[in-house]
Amino acid sequence: MAEQKQFEPLIIGFTCNWCSYRAADLAGMSRKKYPPNVRLIRLMCSGRLDPAFVLKALQGGADGVLITGCHPGECHYLEQNYKAYRRYVLLKRMLKQFGVEPERVKLIWASAAEGVRLAEEITKMVEEVRALGPLNWPGVAAANGDRLIHLTEKEEVAA
Amino acid sequence: MTIDTLDIAASPMPATVPKRSFLQEVIEDTPGSDPRFEMCIQCGTCGGSCPSGPDMEYSPRRIFAMIKADMREEVLKSNTFWYCVSCYYCMARCPQQVHITDLMYTLKRKAVREGYCRKSTASDAPDFSEFFADAVLKYGRSFELGLATRYHLRHHPLGAIKMATGMGLEMMRKGRMDLTPRRIKNVDQLQAILSKAEEIARQEREQGGVA
């Protein structure tokens, strides 16, 4: 077991094919460095994001979820990012009830031109989630190897 | 390369935080939602609309340009905002929805606090505001006779006599002016509130903010 090693949060990012995924491309092309803790999934639009994806990520071992989409008024599909926004707001309210810290799930608007900004936002979020520590969703833990596995919940024996 | 430039190049970077611009300062000191001061496009609608525009040293539009140019002292010394009559024409017409009238209040407060108002050509105006405020602080109500007497005695002694014999007398004769101030019942409470307000404002200023 690595001792005193800095906690490295794992963050799943959902990106819109037209803006934020291209922003990530641009960050790469500009060689803008950011920590390797975020792994992106490409969707056609932030409007495709099903809140279940976020829950699945949190439950499945992610310490945070980043949702990105086109700025309001700039959606490639006209107005679907507003739907994403509404779903996000309601989801956040619900996650609060589940005890998930607000910093762990974030929505950021990023246009295809905002590569540097996206990288900075990712850096910021990684640090914020790092400060919170692992999410360790109840019912999920990791094995010693490098593959995360799902354990069934160990119930307490004493009251 | 001259010695001067060498010196500058060699001098260490200032360790302090960058100085806040005058524009930032007035934005932060203006209440309510975003006052949009930085959005002025110099179209002149305010200056054209202002009923006392012709008497101002600088039109409101120019004040915005001067603020952006960080001409702090020149702005605070000017009579512009003291001539503002709060008619809100500028604010209603501004195509950029800048809260112009609110800026005028902010500048008045700054000029009073920092004493610039004494250097302004409208140096009478702050006294009027101050005397008015004093009466309210004391009684909770405005006191026209007291205010007029005090103000005019300081600034226009002749006018005061005219006031007393002419308009003032008429006002009293028609029952439109009190000889003694009216006061609210809970003056103590009001004063407690206002002194607390002053304290909050002071703290804010001391913490590097402005008020």
């Binding site: - | 407060r109 009027f128 505001s129 109500r141 405005s142 609210i184 509130i193 909050i200 404002a201």
Partner: protein, 320 residues
């Protein structure tokens, strides 16, 4: 209809005619006013110039009192335009800025008070008269129409600009008072400067500047042969009335236009006695103008037949 009432300092003394006439017309209008107890001065335009925090705390104390005493509904009626502006502006800015509201409430707490932004709905008396009571109800109460009286409706600034809460009339070219005066039977003159400034406190700070502004207004009303100017604000009344003499002296003019509160004219049309309506307190006597009030409705001027060459005017939407 029940309303909380905030008279402000002016109505207690220099504008007592406004207060008296407001109270006199309240009954026929079916309005019950409950004065909010122990209100303080709203700060007029002066306090804002001295200390922001104190200015807002000062106004918020009144709002807090109204909130506490809200037995007559959420409406707080201010007949004075400056009070109306200050109360509504304070409420709007406290709502817009929770940080400001927080600080103001800290100050209020020192006096054991609190105000929740948005709780009190500040209204101007004119708004209440024309929108809550309504022109039709007012028309029904008119027993002595003001036929023949040429009235210049003067709104001044703060009732329509900038309009923090209810923008009940146009900030540039308001018409509600015009329509009210027509409802009373008066002839409303075109008065392009109806929403211009009376000079406000400039009478105290720079009399020449103020006299210039007042002169313009009087000239404009006189150009259109107004018998009276009707106003909705104590400050406007005072400036136009008390300084008319000074204007005449400064400009060599001979204006003699009485400046009357709209409630006074309403009262006359309702058949109330002049004394009850506070007549006699004005500097420029209203008596000569009031003699002109006729009993017969004036004949409508015949529409001039347009000449062949004349170009049509754009159609304006009907005034409501």
């Amino acid at each position: 209809m029940k309303y909380n009432y905030y008279p402000g300092c002016s109505l207690e003394r220099n504008a007592s005619a406004y207060h008296d006439s407001t109270m006199a017309v309240a009954k026929p209008l079916g309005i019950e006013f409950q004065e909010v107890n122990d209100c303080n001065c709203c700060g007029a335009v002066e306090f804002m110039a001295i200390d922001k925090m104190q200015a807002y705390a000062l106004i918020a104390r009144n709002l807090s009192l109204a909130e506490q005493q809200m037995s007559n509904g959420e409406n707080l009626v201010a007949p004075c335009s400056a009070c109306f502006l200050n109360l509504s502006k304070c409420d709007a800015y406290l709502s817009a800025s929770p940080a400001l509201a927080d600080k103001v409430n800290k100050a209020l707490a020192a006096g054991g008070m609190h105000y929740t932004p948005g709780q009190v709905h500040t209204r101007h008396l004119l708004d209440v008269a024309v929108n809550d009571v309504g022109y039709d109800a007012i028309a029904k109460k008119v027993s002595k129409p003001l036929y023949g009286l040429r009235v210049a409706p003067y709104y001044g600034c703060l009732i329509v600009r900038p309009g923090f809460l209810d923008k009940f009339d146009d900030p540039e070219y308001p018409t509600s008072l015009d329509k009210l005066m027509r409802t009373l039977g008066a002839t409303v003159v075109d008065f392009p400067m109806k929403a211009h400034c009376c000079g406000g406190h400039m009478t105290q700070i720079s009399e020449p500047v103020a006299l210039y502004m007042i002169h313009q207004l009087l000239k404009n009303a006189a150009d259109y042969e107004a018998d009276v100017i009707t106003t909705i604000c104590p400050m406007c009344q005072l400036n136009l009335d008390a300084y008319q003499h000074n204007v005449n002296k400064a400009y060599g003019t001979h204006y003699n236009i009485p400046i009357l509160y709209f409630t006074q004219l309403m009262g006359l049309a309702f058949g109330l006695s002049a004394k009850k309506l506070g007549f006699g307190k004005e500097f420029i006597s209203a008596a000569p103008a009031l003699i002109k009030i006729g009993v017969k409705p004036p004949k409508k001027p015949k529409k001039k037949r347009p000449s062949k060459q004349e170009l049509p005017m754009p159609v304006m939407p009907e005034e409501e």
